[in-house]
């Protein structure tokens, strides 16, 4: 399979990250919380960043999405912990920031390509 992930995934990804962060901040205990949060932690940040690489190989992209997301789920809370700022909600918000920043870069690049 040599196709890129379809562009609508970017929107779905941002929506997932935003919903997860809202749930975390609101401390909502909805039954959907475990599945939603797990999907966010394991997929969202990695997906936003890997899309920037435009690799064009689905297995490779899936591998990197999972690995990058897992690595960021370790590194972002660790940085907060060593800075004496441990807060899962803050870490969640930081991950949302990564998703938004990466998606913004991707959107800007796509617009530039269209203008050319």
């Amino acid at each position: 399979v040599r196709r890129r992930l379809p562009p609508r995934w970017a929107g779905v990804n941002v929506a997932l990250a935003a919903a997860a962060t809202l749930l975390a901040i609101a401390e909502s205990q909805t039954p959907a919380r475990p599945a939603l949060m797990l999907a966010f932690v394991l997929v969202s940040p990695g997906l936003a960043l890997v899309r920037l690489l435009r690799l064009g190989d689905r297995v490779a992209e899936l591998t990197l999405v999972l690995a990058l997301s897992a690595a960021l789920a370790v590194l972002v809370p660790s940085v907060l912990l060593y800075a004496d700022l441990w807060s899962p909600r803050a870490a969640c918000a930081a991950l949302l920031g990564i998703v938004l920043a990466a998606t913004a870069v991707e959107t800007a690049r796509s617009q530039q390509a269209v203008e050319r």
Partner: protein, 597 residues
């Protein structure tokens, strides 16, 4: 959605084998209630597996071999491998009353400390000096609301499913023959018996290890102009496999190196050994001219050094002598593993099956590598990565586990070469004879795996009663108490990690000196009573079924020894029973009567 539609379309094209795989999964699911863990012998899980469960695994294996023979599509192969992973690695999760393996419970305790305090305590033990995995687990548990024991329970299935994508990516860099790649993956799961995929830093960082190697092999591979070895194949050499896809642009290369650095940073923060293994593997690829990111090993070493110098310094300062003393001690590394070859007759059989399974897959790999070479294949990068882990043998005994870790690090590449024995080149292996051979080997590996992987299950499984007893222990014991157990094999240390001290009967002087032909359990009881009397504010002794199983299985004492000690403790006027259930008992010292009371 288009991907889902494509998968469904592929499944429709192979409805017969999809049907077999789904039936096997269903049969597996309905067989689970028949697994009675309480009847388990020292052979482990295999002693209580019902025939229907064996049938389910057998049907799945036959179906997978037919998939390979008919060169069925990726989605069908994927379905079979996922079913295999759930069956092999999820069976204990699905039948156990509580999460298995005592170390997993301890890891729950470390992550729980981070949840409670939002901090690490490098002075307590080594885990807090490389806490990345525990920080991540605490974060995920807090965010999802899923308890740490539940995460621990599902970790083996989750980790093994995570390994699948990078494994496939690695093997596909060496071949465009899907049969070879998928059979390599299949063999990996049939031989990953060493059980390092529990709720642990090594289980998680192994995934990152695979991904780092996959990235380097997929996008940074190179073929040196001059070969170190000039091996002359019998047939015309095939061109070395070129990773699929277009050459990455400079921006993509920079991005991919950044990804590797981020993944490696997570590994450095999470495990002591794994980063060195990655450096060794990457350095081997670079020195052999097989990787174009030549500065990466140096950068990785700098990252490791920085972590040790700033964030693991508390541990290194206290243990530098020990670490340096063991460095390069080959005999100690080997002895510390071979010393484990003791225990009951059934357990010794399990150990022998483990050795045979290891030798068998290595022998298949060697034959596969030779056959591939004769047919003109040169998989130098994978061969290097299969051999490099053996350099760790003199690195450190690593608690007697270094040989097991070496096996694990080499396994993806060993499994690839074992698969290459059947499909050395695209044109080969199309006969029914090859398919029958693959089936035969798969069945042999499956049998060996079932014994090797779950051979310690009588001690690794815990009952709800044991967990209840340990919870009661923590309720009873004031902060700072001394908690004593017969052996470390019980689900403890998962609560208030920093607040208690721990002691084991098997570590006492009188236990070590005990002549088990004429045992005097009262000597152990006297010694432990003295230790407990000196402890402040209080001390408790907990004895459980799984401790007894562990002591017997590993040959630390004859059958029933720990129960004899329990009887001695119960009869002693110095102890009083404070809690008891079917699988556990908790004792404490009688409080001296106050004058006038």
């Amino acid at each position: 959605m288009s991907a889902a539609r494509a998968v469904l379309r592929q499944w429709r094209g192979s409805a017969d084998l999809v049907f077999v795989a789904l039936c096997a999964s269903l049969l597996f699911a309905v067989s689970l209630p028949d697994v009675d863990l309480s009847r388990m012998t020292d052979l482990g899980l295999v002693s209580v597996i019902p025939f229907s469960l064996v049938l389910a695994l057998g049907a799945l294996t036959v179906s997978f071999c037919l998939c390979l023979h008919h060169a069925r599509n990726t989605a069908v192969l994927l379905l079979h491998v996922i079913a295999l992973v759930v069956m092999l690695y999820g069976v204990t999760t699905l039948v156990a009353e509580v999460p298995r393996f005592n170390v997993a419970w301890r890891h729950v305790g470390v992550a729980d400390y981070i949840v409670r305090t939002g901090d690490v305590a490098p002075g307590i033990d080594v885990y807090f000096n490389w806490p990345g995995f525990f920080v991540g687990a605490a974060f995920v548990s807090e965010l999802t609301g899923v308890g740490l024991p539940t995460l621990a329970n599902w970790a083996p299935v989750a980790f093994n499913l995570l390994y699948l994508a990078p494994l496939l990516l690695i093997l596909r860099t060496a071949t465009d023959d899907e049969r070879l790649a998928w059979l390599g993956v299949w063999f990996f799961y049939l031989t990953n018996w060493i059980g390092q995929d529990y709720f642990s830093p090594q289980g998680a960082t192994y995934f990152l290890y695979l991904v780092v190697l996959a990235v380097l092999l997929r996008w940074f591979a190179s073929v040196p102009a001059r070969r170190l070895l000039r091996l002359r194949p019998r047939r015309e050499p095939q061109p070395e496999p070129v990773p699929p896809g277009a050459e990455p642009s400079p921006a993509q290369r920079a991005g991919l190196v950044a990804v590797v650095v981020v993944l490696f940073a997570a590994m450095v923060s999470g495990h002591q050994l794994m980063p060195f293994m990655v450096v060794a593997s990457v350095a081997a690829l670079v020195f052999a001219g097989r990787c174009t990111v030549r500065g990466l090993p140096v950068l990785m070493l700098v990252m490791i050094g920085t972590w040790i110098a700033f964030l693991a310094v508390a541990y290194v300062n206290g243990h530098l002598d020990t670490v340096l003393a063991d460095l390069g001690d080959l005999r100690k590394s080997v002895d510390s593993t071979t010393n484990r070859v003791e225990g009951t007759a059934e357990h010794l059989l399990v150990v022998r099956v483990r050795m045979l399974l290891t030798l068998f897959i290595w022998m298949l790999a060697l034959l596969g590598a030779l056959r591939a070479l004769r047919r003109g294949r040169r998989d130098v990068s994978l061969a290097l990565l299969a051999v490099v882990p053996f350099a760790l043998i003199g690195f450190a005994p690593y608690g007697g586990e270094i040989l097991l870790r070496i096996y694990l690090f080499a396994l993806p590449f060993v499994a690839f070469f074992a698969a290459a024995l059947f499909y050395p080149v695209r044109a080969a292996g199309r006969s029914w004879r090859t398919t029958r051979a693959v089936l035969l080997v798969s069945v042999a590996l499956l049998g060996g795996f079932s014994v090797a992987r779950y051979g310690n299950e009588r001690m690794d499984q815990f009952s709800q009663a044991e967990l209840d007893a340990v919870n009661r222990l923590y309720d009873l014991a004031p902060r700072g108490s001394l908690l004593v157990a017969g052996d470390a094999n019980l689900p403890w240390r998962f609560r208030d990690y920093e607040r208690y001290r721990y002691e084991l009967l098997t570590k006492t002087e009188s236990w070590r000196r005990m002549n088990w032909k004429r045992p005097r359990p009262n000597a152990v009881v006297r010694e432990i009573a003295a230790v407990m009397a000196a402890a402040q504010p209080r001390a408790f002794l907990i004895l459980t079924r799984s401790q007894q199983a562990g002591v017997e299985l590993l040959g630390l004492a004859p059958r029933g020894a720990l129960w004899r000690i329990r009887r001695e403790v119960a009869a002693s006027p110095r102890f009083e029973l404070v809690y008891r259930n079917a699988d556990a008992a908790i004792f404490t010292l009688r409080q001296p009567r106050r004058a006038g009371a």
